[in-house]
């Protein structure tokens, strides 16, 4: 892989469940082309998909910026949603504040953030109530 980092930017529409997964699918294709190991691609795809869904369900839309370097893949989700009042609680598996609509679609099981943590090598959450949330995921390549 080239030494130069690749940066990709995605807009995530907050009201459209039908486009969820587009950014993760796109990243998956790029990583495949770069010859990244399948298990790393799986980790990125899972955590990226969950991040997209969270950005739609909770963040009311936002952006995802992905940086691929020879050492790692860093994904930053940024939304202007309501923020997370209690991050520790939000991290608990099974805890969810998702709407009935989201639940009917098979989301809202309280797995999103725990999955993102599980399938990344590092995760940080910065959130301010009323302003929004930024989640940064790092998946190591080495």
């Amino acid at each position: 892989m080239s030494e130069k980092a690749i940066s990709l930017h995605y807009e995530i529409d907050g009201n459209n469940f039908t486009v969820a997964g587009q950014a993760s699918s796109s990243i998956k294709k790029v990583l495949k082309q770069l010859g990244v190991a399948p298990e790393v691609i799986r980790k990125v795809a899972i955590s990226m998909y969950e991040g997209e869904i969270n950005t739609i369900i909770h963040g009311k839309g936002g952006v995802a910026d992905v940086t691929i370097s020879s050492e790692s893949i860093i994904i930053v989700f940024k939304d202007n949603g309501p923020g997370i009042p209690d991050i520790e609680k939000a991290m608990q598996s099974g805890f969810s504040t998702a709407s009935d609509e989201a639940r009917e679609l098979g989301f809202g099981a309280g797995m999103g953030l725990p999955n993102m943590k599980k399938y990344s090598d590092n995760m940080t959450i910065e959130s301010e109530v009323g302003k929004g949330t930024t989640v940064t995921l790092t998946v190591n390549l080495q």
């Binding site: 039908t18 969820a20 997964g21 699918s25 869904i53 679609l105 098979g106």
Partner: protein, 109 residues
């Protein structure tokens, strides 16, 4: 056994067709997409009652050999469009997930 062979043998029809000669290896049953996202393995048959468009998103990332929509559930219109675009195999059956899983176990050894 391939997706096509399994479909024919068990009277299932394709709601969306991709590469129908893919081998089925194992299965995952579940309707919660976050769980399915992390549990469906490449090559699995994924058995679900969910027909919404996000199953196509999950399948595009996890690469099951097919999705089997059990209990005669139907696909949302945009799911069919998206699945066809992405070449995802989706089968339909009146059988329950348990019955399909038993058949997979018996026939896909």
């Amino acid at each position: 056994m391939t997706v096509k062979e399994f479909a024919e043998k068990n009277g299932m029809h394709f709601l969306s067709c991709g590469e129908t000669e893919l081998e089925i290896s194992g299965c995952y049953i579940g309707d919660l997409l976050s769980l399915a996202m992390s549990r469906v393995e490449c090559g699995n048959a994924w058995l679900t009652v969910q027909g919404n468009v996000n199953i196509a998103g999950v399948a595009a990332l996890t690469e099951p050999s097919c999705i089997i929509l059990v209990e005669d559930r139907t696909l949302d219109e945009n799911t069919e469009t998206k699945a066809k675009e992405q070449g995802i195999n989706i089968l339909s059956t009146e059988l329950s997930a348990y019955d399909v899983a038993c058949r997979l176990y018996e026939q896909c050894q």
